[in-house]
Amino acid sequence: MQEQKGTFAVKKGLAQMLKGGVIMDVVTPEQAKIAEEAGAVAVMALERVPADIRAQGGVARMSDPELILKIMDAVSIPVMAKVRIGHFVEAQILEAIGVDYIDESEVLTPADEEHHINKHEFSVPFVCGARNLGEALRRIGEGAAMIRTKGEAGTGDVVEAVRHARAVLGEIRRLQNTPDEELMTYAKNIGAPYELVKQVKELGRLPVVNFAAGGIATPADAALMMQLGVDGVFVGSGIFKSGDPARRAAAIVKAVTHYNNPSILAEVSRNLGEPMVGINVSAMDDSERIAGRGW
């Protein structure tokens, strides 16, 4: 039989290899090497981390392919990059340069306020953010091979990531006890494809890997998300906006492996230097929040 590329099994499969790991935002090849050295399972190549996008404002777009290619050359681990919601040409460009995963991300300024990318058309896999089960299943329906919580990127405040993880995982737990005859109306109410709702009830989890993202800044934050039941974590601004990025990165990697071992968590949390300066999400205006982007 011929070799088959770009199947859903291989797209979802790479995310399965990232489980129990930490994916780190980097803006230079040097940062990418620090992340790899610290034990990152993948890096997200960006021109600006979310905290800077937030501070500087303006339109946030896909990064320069030149920068992404330099980061791909610098490390042996997978490299992800972000496109704007609905911007399928940015995605075509990232597929052409060979990135390993595309994040169709609310952190960038959306290009389409009604539709996301038809991700089935691509051989490169996609990860998308979600705040609840309906949103997660709409993205999987469009072809996403990995899901992450949205959280509130660039704040260093974990509260929204917790809210979104509890929403998705709690809805899955309740779905286990929902009788089959109620599933169609349930699917209608949450705006999710019926077949995927049925599948989630059978599996007792999302049919793809589910990471936490958006506001994780400490080893304890990472372990909290793991104990809540996610498969791994993205850390954006939390590492390279802190006082000692290499040390904090390595500590978060260890915390994700030993998320259930408080004595190891205590050990790795010591002497990490200054964490990123955070923004308290509850004090933010609604207009400053980006998790609401996505349809």
């Binding site: 039989m1 011929q2 070799e3 088959q4 590329k5 770009g6 199947t7 099994a9 291989v10 499969g13 790479l14 399965q16 290899m17 990232l18 489980k19 129990g20 790991g21 790899e36 610290a38 034990g39 990152a40 399972v41 993948a42 791909m72 042996s76 681990i77 997978p78 597929e95 060979g98 990135v99 390993d100 995963y101 051989s123 490169v124 896999p125 390595a250 990697v253 260890k254 994700v256 492996t257 030993h258 071992n261």
Partner: protein
């Protein structure tokens, strides 16, 4: 009988689920003392650089080497790299198997693929005739085998994707991502 699955990072839950399906008790192994309770070990897919670094940080390198000299270990993808003597770059390796591997040998993720393999020892051991459908994710190849290491499976073009050296097993692909239980059954048959 208990089979450990190294749970530092990667798709260890998928291996544990396969073990459950063949009626074998599987346990997660993260610390050296947890190795003492298991008769065999699976090193899952994941990132070999991450798994190697965590193995060093938590004092697992020597205990894993000692374990592998006596008892069966099977490495899938990153696990196969970790078992090898040579991966063409500086990263922590167990150096248990006389194989040289090339990481990401097929290219990047867009080149990941599925393919059918003819694995004769697997067919003999399980008394089946169907080909083995294998999933390769940013996979390594086994460039060469030496000493008592033997080739277990190749792609049609001859590139080596599975090798065995006595009670040690290395596969470039991921049986844990399929519904085919034969590789797990084959590995468990190596436990005496």
């Amino acid at each position: 009988m208990k089979v450990g699955v190294l749970a530092l990072q990667g798709d260890f839950a998928e291996h544990l689920s396969m073990l459950r399906r063949i009626g074998v008790e599987g346990v997660e192994v993260r610390l050296p003392e947890e190795l003492e309770t298991v008769q065999a070990l699976i090193i899952p897919g994941g990132e070999s650089t991450t798994i190697g670094k965590l193995a060093v940080d938590f004092g697992l390198l020597e205990p894993l080497r000692a374990f592998g000299r006596e008892r069966p270990i099977w490495g899938t993808c990153a696990g196969a790299i970790f078992l090898s003597k040579d991966a063409h770059r500086q990263q922590p390796l167990l150096e248990l198997m006389d194989i040289t591997v090339q990481r990401n040998a097929f290219g990047r993720q867009v080149d990941s693929f599925e393919a059918d393999l003819d694995v004769k020892p697997l067919k003999q051991a399980t008394g089946t005739s169907e080909p083995y459908h294998a999933v390769f994710i940013r996979a390594p190849i086994i460039e060469s085998v030496r000493g008592s290491a033997e080739v277990l499976a190749t792609l049609p073009d001859g590139r080596i994707v599975a090798a065995q050296q006595g009670h040690l097993l290395a596969t470039s692909f991921h049986p844990e991502l399929t519904d085919d239980l034969r590789f797990h059954q084959y590995f468990v048959s190596l436990i005496s």
